[in-house]
């Protein structure tokens, strides 16, 4: 009788322990999801969702630590599991949102690149076609300096684009286009001045 009781008790304990087993797989899955989100630059392109996921993970870790300290009989990882599920879902959402946002900015940067390149080509053409007399030669030489700067900045922006710094690249392409457009305007003005003098 005593033996039966012992077995029954042991069985109950085992059952209880099994029910509230430490959510190691869930923890690993949530961490992996966070790592993937970070790798997708979710901390930049989907910062709020990423922070929420990171917060949920930290809360889950705290809950796990609390349960680890509790007696085996009293352990309950349900809250931790719930938080880990939440962390994983939010991290996955952050990663996909980041990917979409990044793709959008990349697209914008590529369009800006095309526009900047076109503006530089237009400036080069205008410069080569501009009449070079004593009144314009120096102006045009100076504008060549402006154009060289625009070209060198274009190369820097292209490096930023290929290394995945899309925001930086986008801003730089826009500045290059503005400068190249200004060169075209200045060429027209220099040529006009020559005609007027």
């Amino acid at each position: 009788m005593r033996r039966i009781f012992t077995f029954a008790l042991l069985g109950t304990v085992l059952l209880l322990s099994a029910c509230s087993s430490k959510p190691e797989q869930e923890l690993a899955a949530a961490k992996t999801a966070l790592d993937s989100a970070k790798a997708a630059e979710a901390d930049v392109y989907s910062a709020e969702a990423y922070q929420a996921a990171a917060d949920a993970l930290k809360s889950a870790e705290a809950a796990i630590a609390v349960q680890d300290k509790a007696s085996a009989m009293g352990r309950n990882y349900d809250k931790a599991k719930e938080l880990l599920t939440q962390a994983k879902t939010q991290a996955d959402t952050a990663a996909s949102t980041a990917a979409a946002n990044k793709e959008r900015v990349k697209g914008e940067a590529e369009t800006a690149q095309t526009e900047a390149q076109a503006a530089i080509e237009a400036a080069k053409t205008a410069l080569s076609k501009a009449p070079k007399g004593k009144g314009t030669k120096a102006d045009l030489a100076a504008l060549t300096g402006d154009l060289t700067a625009a070209e060198s900045s274009l190369t820097e922006a292209q490096t930023a684009l290929t290394s995945g710094k899309f925001m930086d690249a986008l801003n730089q392409f826009k500045a290059v286009k503005e400068k190249a457009d200004a060169v075209v305007t200045d060429i027209a003005q220099a040529t006009q001045k020559k005609k007027g003098s």
Binding site: K58, K134, G135, A142, A150, D168, K179, S197
Partner: protein, 341 residues
Amino acid sequence: MTLLAVTGCRQMPEAEWAKLQALRKEIRQEGLGPYAPDLYQEFETGFERIRFDYALQANKSALFRDVEQLRRQIQDEQSRGQLLREQTRRQKEQLKQALRQKLDSLEPSLQQRSAATLDPRERQMIAEIQMQVKQAKTIWNEGDYLRAQEQVDQIDERVAALEDHVEELTRRYRDPDVRMRWQAMTRRTIRWSREQGKSALVVDKLNRRALLYQSGELKYQFTIDLGWNRYPDKLQQGDGATPEGPYRVVEKKGAGETAYYRALLLDYPNAVDRRLFGRARRRGQVEPGARIGAQIEVHGEGGKGRDWTQGCVALSNADMKQLYELAYVGMPVTIVGEVSE
């Protein structure tokens, strides 16, 4: 009843905890942490400790909770967070204003500087800075002041490189031997004017002015534009520099004889110029086939406030009219880097 009272007193401080979480979210959303990294780190560490303690107490039955200790912890952390928020908001605002002021002042000064020079290298450097200022402004408009500050730091480095470039170009302006030579040339010209009782022109490149002496007395001062390559002495055709040395007017070109209103043709290149050019050619300092140049004049159509000629000295038409009337063939025109007062 006693049990209910004790349990009631030991309710988890949910409202306080929610308030603290909201404060933390606010600090994060405003991106305040990086403005006081140490204080922020301290706050974050405290927050994580509370998160754990909260979970720990929540896991206990109400009878065994130490809620008061937790409540105090949350209140302390709330105070620390509020202090952090206020301090960093102030810092962020200060940085925002300082950057705005700097970027706003940079744009017109660069524009002015670019308009004042036609030196392609200098223009290139200025244009690079201008483009970076645009980027910094975009980042500033996005509210990322720390990244804008990084851009401004790079801008400062580029501005310093630009200053170095100009300093390099003007190095000989600080050379005592060169300055002494210019001073001697200027003195000789003024003495000649006094002794001969005639007019003589002295051109001061650095200060962009032409000084007309009559019988050794300074009578007129004109503002001038120079060769686009403002600082060096002329060495060869196409270098855009205005020659330095004692020259004389060899021809007066009136209305219809020049595209530049009125002109005084100088005897550039003189014997010294030819000797220096020959030496530079022998030393390989000029490209094969390079020519020394000619047709250096003092002419009109100037007054543009920037250096744009190929090496001539340009005056506004009104000034040129006055100078032309006073000038004569044979008049000395001494061009120096700078006239010492």
